[in-house]
């Protein structure tokens, strides 16, 4: 159930609109309203009927935290939702029936190889190109119907951030602030400080390095005081120190209860930076969920090194628990249907007279999972 409260003039939204709160609340809440009871917001940030206390839905604290920032929350706590989202260019389907669900307050990685349709999905979500089919909601608001309202609370970088090179970093932010509203101007200094560009803020952007432009792009997003950041390949052009710094920024941003969706083809970075992930291939989402869950669901594998690789390959491939055998440097990488088959595999190798130098089970990794679900594995096989 969903309730929308328009709040009195204690302040205004960052973009000038009225404060508003939409909460997903249990039926009891509506029962209280139906009975005409008055509600108050407790110090702990809970709505309490004056005559009777009740329990909020488990995720309601998120809505209250958001209310304190003057924001709107989605009743189902998803900041990005798509259903059957499709984008075609002529006969080519670039985004194919995508059903995406990004929970609030996480770093969400949209991972896929180059050309998988990551940027097109982001452009479609942001209204930079129209969808061919399907539905989208940003921060609980349907887009494109309420695109302007939704985007007022979204910061985004699509592909590399671009600027007017003849203007300073601060002036570039002022231009976007002019489009966003008065509150955005007030956040320029703090945003520049947050990305470490205060000292160079009054230099022309054409003198900035690629890494500095990336940081300025983040600052440009932050002046929106966004609930949701959508970043397209944000690690491109960053040096190792910059990547480390960016990772810290992501965790800090998410730590404030906000959400980041970042697209990347850099599997390692997504694994280190994100909590949730969707793996996309040829425009389709092939798997999505918490990274820890995906890793746990990955198929077990092992590295095997013996004195005779060719014979080993034949023996191992014949084992019923072995799904795939591939070369791995001096030995073989074996994907198993069942990790418990490993001792039996070892026994067969020894019985065949092979000297086993290495037999090492590998913890399922996101990389392995990624390769399993994308067509790269098919191509490699």
């Amino acid at each position: 159930m969903q309730l929308e409260l328009r709040l009195p003039a204690a302040g205004t939204h960052a973009n000038g609109g009225p404060r508003r709160l939409v909460l997903g609340l249990p039926p009891l809440f509506f029962g209280a309203l139906a009975e005409g009871r008055r509600l108050r917001l407790s110090e702990e940030g809970r709505f309490i009927p004056q005559a009777q206390k009740f329990r909020l839905a488990p995720d309601a604290h998120v809505g209250v935290a958001a209310y304190r920032r003057g924001m709107t929350t989605s009743p189902n706590n998803l900041v990005v939702e798509t259903e059957g989202l499709t984008k075609r260019f002529g006969h080519r389907t670039v985004v194919d029936d995508v059903r995406l669900a990004v929970p609030r307050g996480v770093a969400f990685g949209y991972l896929g190889p180059n050309g998988a349709g990551k940027t097109t999905l982001i452009r479609t979500l942001l209204g930079l190109t129209s969808a061919s089919d399907g539905e989208m909601r940003l921060l609980g608001l349907p887009v494109p119907a309420r695109r302007a309202e939704a985007l007022a609370r979204v910061g985004a970088i699509v592909e590399e951030p671009r600027f007017h090179g003849h203007l300073t970093g601060r002036e570039n932010l002022e231009i976007v602030a002019a489009a966003r509203g008065r509150k955005a101007y007030e956040l320029i200094d703090s945003s520049l400080e947050e990305v470490g560009l205060t000292a160079r803020a009054d230099d022309r952007v054409k003198t900035y390095s690629l890494g500095m432009r990336q940081r300025l792009g983040i600052a440009r997003c932050l002046i929106a005081d966004p609930e949701l950041l959508i970043l397209d390949e944000p690690m491109n052009g960053l040096d190792p120190a910059g990547i480390l710094e960016f990772r810290g920024f992501v965790r800090s941003f998410v730590g404030r209860g906000r959400t980041i969706v970042l697209s990347s083809h850099l599997l390692d970075e997504v694994e280190k930076t994100c909590d949730y992930i969707a793996i996309v291939d040829q425009g389709k989402i092939v798997v999505q969920g918490a990274i820890a869950d995906l890793q746990a669901n990955g198929r077990p594998s092992a590295l095997i090194e013996t004195g005779e690789t060719a014979r080993t390959r034949t023996l191992v491939a014949a084992h019923p628990a072995v799904e795939l055998v591939s070369d791995n440097g001096n030995g073989l990488r074996v994907t198993l249907r069942d990790v418990d088959a490993l001792p039996d595999l070892n026994r067969r190798l020894v019985d065949a007279g092979l000297d086993v130098y290495r037999l090492e089970p590998i913890k399922p990794s996101l990389e392995q999972r990624f390769l399993e679900v994308t067509t790269r594995l098919e191509n490699a096989a």
Binding site: H13, L126, A150, L151, R162, F163, H166, A178
Partner: protein, 266 residues
Amino acid sequence: MSTLALELPNRRLISADLLKLRKRRGLVLVTALLTIGVVVIVNAVSETLHLIDPMKHGPVGGVTMLGHISWAIAALAAVAAAIVGALAGSGDSDAGVYRELAVTGRSRLSLFLSRIPAALAFVVPFVAVAYALEAGASVVFAGFHPQPSTYLLTVTGLWVMLSAVFYFLLAYGLASVTGSRAYSIGIVLAFRLAVTPLIAQIASLGVVRELLPGVALDNLTPTALGTAARQGPTIGMSVAATAAVLVVWAAAALVVGGWRDTSRDT
């Protein structure tokens, strides 16, 4: 923010668009040269020649010189305005910043509309100063020539300004359609300086020539200036027809430019 507020350009948005233009040193220099610079140079050279040899070179003031130099200002201010219009219409796209502005949720129509007053606020002062200098020179250095009346100075000034504003709007709309500064400037200048005079000379085209904005602007030349401020043949048009031609051209450029700007994939 209300939907209406998102649709309409506000003062901050216009100031931001003005900032983009006035911070371009090259653009400031070229615009100043094509407007104020031309007036200063022509007057300085003419007055120097007059002082050196007054029998051969007349004074730089008076009605006739006002006509000649106002024609030059109108022509070159139109060039400057076309450059500014093309830059305003394609600047964000060229720099790749248009997408960054579009994702703020601000309506594209608002972004399109805000650039018009901003660019006019940039180019109009240059044209105004250039014409003010010429108006002053035409009075101060009139010598034995008749001085222009206040009315003539005013209508000539308005005519010069109209020419600049019209070609700005044309270039702005065109640049919004093509997304290319270079193509837009080239097309507008070719149309203004070559195609219009050429077509205007083809008498067999008859009233069709009246559809050209250059012909319409020629028709608005103050009659007191005589032929001094005219470029092509006289093609008689009513004021209403003249106004209609200019309004339709400008409106068409803005509507098509606005449609393209608000509907393109970015």
